[in-house]
């Protein structure tokens, strides 16, 4: 300990600024190396984590799908879901928009012609706990399964029975309407892009 303080007092001369500059440069180099190491070791894993979050849901969103490939259709990023023979089983469409308190990020499963919704998954939401965040529950999301994409979905309160009706989560009408709005917009845009690309 005392040796340290002696060396430092000896260095407190005219050449001190060089010592200081060297110290910062050496530290910056060392830290840079450490960061480069961390980056090359972990970034593939982080990227895989992000992708895996979507890919893990694909079989639940599109019946019969076993894997998915990322691509863009008419500028819209989308995942093409493939069945075990490599044929197109459907599409998984990422969609996001403003919810009640923050952005909601969704994955929408569609059949091969994008004519019907085959599933819905909530990737990220910060809605009110106990009310709005129940949009993540399986029971509520299941309502979307099998709905036709030809007509925009509408939210109802109380009993929903109609073909294009979704029953709102009790006490969270806005969150429910946000989800339905996000799904409607994303699906409409994607259908147009799919038609234009001729598939």
């Amino acid at each position: 300990m005392e040796k340290d303080s002696q060396t430092s007092s000896m260095k407190a001369g005219a050449g001190n600024y060089f010592v200081q500059a060297w110290l910062v440069i050496v530290l910056a180099l060392l830290f840079g190396l450490a960061l480069a190491g961390v980056h090359s070791a972990l970034s593939p894993r982080i990227a895989a984590n992000k992708l895996q979050e979507t890919l893990a849901e694909v079989p639940r969103l599109v019946p019969g799908a076993v894997k998915a490939e990322r691509e863009t259709v008419g500028g819209i990023p989308v995942y093409r879901a493939l069945d075990k023979d490599g044929a197109v089983a459907g599409w998984v469409l990422p969609a996001s928009g403003q919810g009640f308190s923050d952005r909601i990020e969704l994955l929408v499963g569609l059949d091969a012609t994008a004519g019907r919704i085959t599933g819905l998954y909530v990737l990220d939401q910060k809605e009110t706990p106990g009310l709005g965040n129940r949009i993540s529950e399986e029971g509520w999301r299941a309502q979307f399964r099998g709905k036709s994409t030809g007509k925009p979905l509408v939210v109802t309160k109380g009993g929903a029975g109609g073909e294009s009706e979704i029953q709102a989560v009790t006490g969270a009408t806005i969150s429910s309407e946000s989800v339905v709005g996000i799904v409607n917009r994303a699906v409409t845009a994607f259908r147009a892009a799919l038609k234009a690309s001729g598939e």
């Binding site: 960061l35 480069a36 961390v38 970034s43 819209i76 806005i174 309407e177 946000s178």
Partner: protein, 256 residues
């Protein structure tokens, strides 16, 4: 028109709905430390607004052109897309520290009057988490966004930062106003100082929760294609919960 609406929504969101202090809890140190008197609180708020806008400009430029994966400048130099995002945090903190230094020198030289108003607060701002938080919010919307049409431009970033600063000024000024009156109240000894300030802040946060959903109403009113959304008061349900009854006091306290 759509662009103007999106800017307005970002502004309302940053200043009121997701107020940096009362919703994200950043910038609490000055919120506690410099909120004893109204004039100093306002000076601090102005200084933060000033610095946060400059830091937002610099960090957007850095992120957009250099740091984000596949940024134009690094692609041009290296000949292939690079990902420098691991350097984000280090560069942001240096951008903030140097812009604070620079602003201090500039304001002292050219605007001595302004310097007298908030110059003393400038050095404190370097470690104000609100500034770094604004940079990180901008990063979230620029770096690693899948859909190119959703990447934020300079306009959105500046509006977010400036109105976040305004929101901070509003919150700290309200708090200073309340604390000036609080000096005359008989607060239990144990709660004096920080304790009562946090409780007042909690009640203010309750009041500010009432703004939730305002952006959706605005969006619906301004965008004619409104996607069948109706603004409704979801927050009302919170009053069934234990502390919900305090909401009324929060609104009253906010006005005093």
């Amino acid at each position: 028109m759509d662009y103007a609406v999106s800017l307005l929504l970002i502004a309302v969101g940053a200043a009121l709905i997701n107020n940096f202090v009362l919703h994200y809890f950043v910038g609490l140190c000055p919120f506690l430390g410099v909120s004893r008197r109204l004039d100093t609180a306002f000076g601090m708020g102005s200084a933060v607004t000033f610095v946060i806008s400059i830091a937002a400009f610099l960090s957007w430029t850095l992120t957009y052109f250099i740091l984000r994966p596949g940024a134009p400048l690094t692609t041009l130099i290296a000949g292939r897309p690079l990902d420098l995002s691991i350097l984000n945090y280090i560069l942001y903190i240096f951008v903030i520290a140097s812009s604070v230094q620079f602003v201090e020198m500039y304001v002292r030289k050219f605007f001595p009057h302004l310097y007298r108003a908030f110059g003393v607060y400038l050095p404190l701002i370097t470690t104000n988490c609100a500034i770094l938080f604004a940079c990180l919010e901008i990063m979230k919307h620029v770096s690693g966004v899948d859909d190119p049409s959703k990447v934020w431009g300079l306009g959105q970033s500046l509006v977010l930062a400036f109105f976040a600063g305004i929101g901070f000024t509003v919150a700290i000024s309200l708090m200073a106003g309340i604390r000036e009156d609080l000096d005359l109240c008989d607060v239990p000894a144990a709660l004096r100082g920080a304790g009562i300030t946090f409780i007042v802040a909690g009640i203010m946060a309750l009041g500010f929760m009432g703004f939730t959903g305002v952006d959706r109403g605005l969006e619906k009113a301004l965008r004619k294609d409104g996607h069948s959304r109706a603004p409704r008061r979801e927050a009302v349900v919170h009053q069934q919960t234990g502390t919900g009854a305090l909401g009324g006091e929060g609104a009253a306290g906010g006005r005093s």
